[in-house]
Symmetry: C2
Subunit: 248 residues, 2 copies
């Protein structure tokens, strides 16, 4: 079982699933929530339809009639494996969390996203109306697989994230008529244990609605932190890992 937390920022009506296998991270999130009254933490298991449905009901109650603007499917797992030792159990386990999870979560929260899209009269789609963001990875790219395969084969993870890109495309096509924007991004170097404390870089690897994200003006970048968002199209796979310059 993967204990996942779903947190919502009620100012932005933003919802994010997060995988917290490490207890200290749950503690840190709860501490953050204690300091900020607009942050609400709700636990869910992304691969369990009942748990997801229960969390969606909690979020709905908390929103108190408002819609949900942004849903970030950030929960995911990576298990070390190679083509020699990967087995059926690992393949299905990783696929369940990384692909089936985002599918179930979006289905459960869809009525709230639709409501947010309907309640906003702006033209087109945007994250200020309703958006789903699935966390993909540079390792999802078949084209550049060779550059990293020898030192990080992670076959089950690669297959799952490639499939997640396809799921995102299907979600984008399926929910366009509802005004819900769906996209997959590769987070690059983020403010986690693997990243530094002052850098947040985001590169969109597959956006099916190219005008969703815009790189912010330099004047909008907070002191000491940088945000980089770059637009791609669905036929190319951009990643900070493989020589593409990250604009900061």
């Amino acid at each position: 079982m993967h204990h996942l937390d779903c947190w919502i920022d009620t100012d932005a009506t933003l919802c994010c699933t997060q995988h917290f296998a490490v207890a200290i991270k749950i503690k840190a999130l709860n501490e953050l929530a204690a300091k900020h009254s607009n942050l609400k933490v709700i636990q869910l298991e992304a691969t369990d339809p009942e748990s997801v449905s229960k969390a969606a009901k909690e979020v709905e109650a908390h929103l108190n009639g408002a819609g949900l603007n942004v849903l970030i499917n950030n929960a995911g797992i990576l298990t070390p494996c190679s083509i020699e030792n990967v087995d059926a159990e690992d393949m299905l386990h990783v696929y369940s969390t990384n692909v089936v999870g985002p599918l179930l979560v979006v289905k459960a929260f869809l009525h709230l996203l639709k409501k947010a899209a309907k309640d906003n009269n702006e033209a087109g789609m945007s994250c200020s109306k309703a958006a789903v963001i699935n966390m993909s990875a540079g390792l999802a790219s078949i084209t550049v697989c060779q550059e990293t395969y020898d030192f990080i084969p992670v076959v089950s993870y690669r297959c799952s994230k490639t499939a997640l890109n396809m799921l995102t495309k299907c979600q984008a096509l399926g929910y366009t008529s509802d005004g819900v924007l769906c996209t997959a991004i590769h987070p690059g170097w983020v403010q986690t244990d693997l990243g530094g404390p002052n850098i947040i870089s985001l590169i969109i690897v597959q956006t099916f609605h190219p005008k969703f994200f815009q790189r912010p003006d330099d004047s909008q970048i907070p002191a000491g932190k940088s945000v980089t968002l770059r637009i791609t199209d669905s036929r190319r796979f951009y990643s900070w890992r493989f020589g593409f310059k990250v604009l900061i």
Copy 2:
């Protein structure tokens, strides 16, 4: 459970998994085997490691010390579904057959493929040495998804075949040092219920060893039948479905 047959042509030492849900097709295959002594039919369940292992042992015994030149992972399933009604069970079921199946089958037969590669002193890799061919699909393409999504969304199938392309890439990279060529192809219009009796067209959608297949000279095409093989690279997705001309 999916009853799958594995047949080998002992002249070419070729092995193919085939999904036969319809009894008449099993009957037809057995009739074909009765007419041709070089065709041996062995039943296996591609998602069951024990069944796959048992089939590999039978093939090994039948080969009587020789290696296996070509393994075709043709077993696959498609279940009708949309982004609205696809569920966790269907996602995992289809992934298990279409992605985990080919993974398990290749692992179980790998020693025989390696033997065939080792026993042939020709330079490079080829299907006359040792090759794995995974049956992919035009529906695996994220880029052209939009062209068919409305009338055949099949989300679970699309996600699985996209993942199969990644698996194939990992197999190609993992087994190159063993001399085992791995590729994924989209069969296009083939000699099945969906195709005609006189056409066999094959288009390679992702070949990681570009010189594997060559289009045959016109003089080599048998009267009344055509074989088309076209080379692609791993960055593009060719398909007879979407306006690419099929050369016959």
